[in-house]
Symmetry: C2
Subunit: 329 residues, 2 copies
DNA sequence: CTGTTAGCGCTTTCAT
DNA sequence: ATGAAAGCGCTAACAG
């Protein structure tokens, strides 16, 4: 069933049917009513594909994320989807796992299908997008990067000042009298490096020595947090505070401390990062850094919408995280 | 840049270019090479929209979920996306919030864009899809429901036996000697009702009286779990075990018990549901029910793929959950 | 206010 | 092995 069938049944031309469907141009009210009745009776669904042939757009954006199961990405993707949906855009989603091949494959498919814009969620894309093939693909379509920066003509970004964010945690701990502070670093993305840098800088600012020796590399998981703390305890390091790059790692750290018979925060303070549900489930509730994924998502959508519709002025921007005090400090 | 430009540059007809791009039909190796070179040099991206006009398919499925931020849905959606991607399908995602209007709006858009199939994730869709408008929309396109049943010609489902799942938790507790068991019920979806039914049936099976009085309604959140337990304690109810319909509620229940100075599991045992990261972050780690979202997702994808490609036999099926013992029982 | 017609970029016969 | 031409279902410019 297509526009010709409807036109025939109504005894009018396809132009008239098109005008009725799109509320465009003038149509005799009687004719309109008649056509609308037929449309409704057949619960007619026009083909967006055919429409897209002319308009060159399917009102659709592609969202690339590392892994939607990570709560922080889920929150970001959720807000992006809701905001785009509200604006009449469809959202296509891909979990690239941070892998180049998946990214290329999906990006190519998205461009074949004429997506109007692309959102990259996560700082891994900083690294991945240096690939010349990806740069070639992105050059043609407006792109926004959540938490990363791309040096491409059509790309903009919404950054989170993670260096500052970790600084907030250190400030808070030092204010509470802590000097023996360790940092649990996970992953090796730009964001993770910035957090670590923020830690080192802050310790430097407070004149705390051997900052680099206070960084423990571990996995981004409960087990990662537990193992790192167990290792510190085993080595006999003295410490009164642990700063973590992720809430999930912090939750693991708290677990290991409690299992070792230490009290949190009386013996050792812990801070997380993301202000996630993990922070609230952790007992005691984690002091954490809110890096505002919903705000980042909103700004990404606004930015990309202006780029697509060329309606407003636009520019990249940076978000300042905030400390959320819980019971672990 | 389109197929005509490529043809002109190569000095051949568009048919030949089409044959080269699709590896279909016979093409002189020399000609092929020449065209391929030009395609590559221009990093040519053919229009899937124009292609879709003929083929009537964009190799795309729509995934409707309530809220991707809920870990259980995130895990399901993740696996669905990965599996469809592997099979060459694109995934369009929507967070309907369980609302009828959003569902209708998105479904209509998806059908206009010729999606090949639809996956509904969550038992809310059981209720929502009784709406005649939605039934009309779904009638035309193959649909699979994760954790729900639809009485429509083109719809199939992958069910989870949640009644049995909660039964496993009760069995486990009774085996450990508990008789004073309460149930924290959240939400009012079909799945939530089945869980509650499972609780009531199990208590009946063990001859535990006043089962209905042992059901506490609360919100699906940490606070919901905390409030429910605080209420039980305040009312002076004696109980040795709390069964919860969700891990997040169970985590709240554990918190409230610990805050009240009770020991878990020595004074009160707790069970969760979903075998989520929340269960592992909770200290002590929750005993919980694994309802296998990854398996459900895989089966949904297999089912929908067979429906779309009409390749294999297909039928609805039911998954049996399993108990995962933690430290709260 | 309404109809005719020319595309949109591709696939697919059907000739050659 | 290759090309010409007819659509796919719609929009939009133009004519009436």
């Amino acid at each position: 069933m297509n526009i010709y069938d409807i036109a025939k049944e109504a005894g009018v031309s396809i132009s008239t049917v098109s005008r009725v469907m799109n509320n465009k141009g003038n149509v005799n009210p009687a004719t309109r009513e008649k056509v609308e009745e037929i449309l409704a009776r057949n619960s007619y669904v026009p083909s967006a594909i055919a429409r897209g042939m002319m308009s060159k757009s399917l009102n659709k954006v592609a969202v690339l994320t590392v892994d939607i199961r990570v709560p922080h990405y889920a929150r970001t993707a959720y807000t992006i989807e809701r905001e785009f949906s509200r604006r009449g855009y469809e959202v296509s989603l891909c979990n690239t796992g941070g892998e180049l091949q998946e990214t290329v494959k999906y990006l190519r498919a998205a461009l074949e299908k004429q997506v109007d814009g692309i959102v990259l969620v996560g700082s891994v894309f900083n690294t991945i997008c240096r690939d010349p093939e990806i740069e070639g693909l992105l050059r043609t379509t407006p792109t926004v990067l959540a938490n990363g920066k791309l040096e491409l003509p059509n790309s903009y970004s919404v950054l989170v000042d993670d260096k500052y964010g970790i600084g907030l945690a250190v400030d808070h701990l030092v204010r509470k009298g802590h000097r023996e502070i360790y940092y649990l670093k996970d992953m090796d993305t730009v964001s993770a490096r910035l957090k670590c840098e923020g830690f080192l800088n802050s310790l430097g600012r407070y004149g705390i020595k051997d900052a680099k020796k206070r960084v423990v590399n571990t996995a981004m998981s409960i087990e990662g947090g537990m193992k790192a703390v167990e290792q510190l305890l085993r080595k006999g390091n003295t410490f009164t505070a642990v700063v973590c790059g992720e809430d999930v790692t912090a939750a693991g750290a708290v677990k290991a401390l409690l299992h070792a018979g230490l009290r949190v925060p009386e013996d050792v303070a812990v801070t997380g990062y993301n202000n996630s549900e993990y922070a609230r489930i952790c007992e005691p509730r984690l002091t954490t850094i809110d890096n505002k994924p919903e705000l980042v998502a909103m700004l990404c959508v606004q930015l990309l919408t202006s780029l697509i519709e060329k309606t407003e002025a636009y520019s990249s921007c940076t978000i300042q995280p905030e400390l959320v005090e819980g019971q672990t400090t």
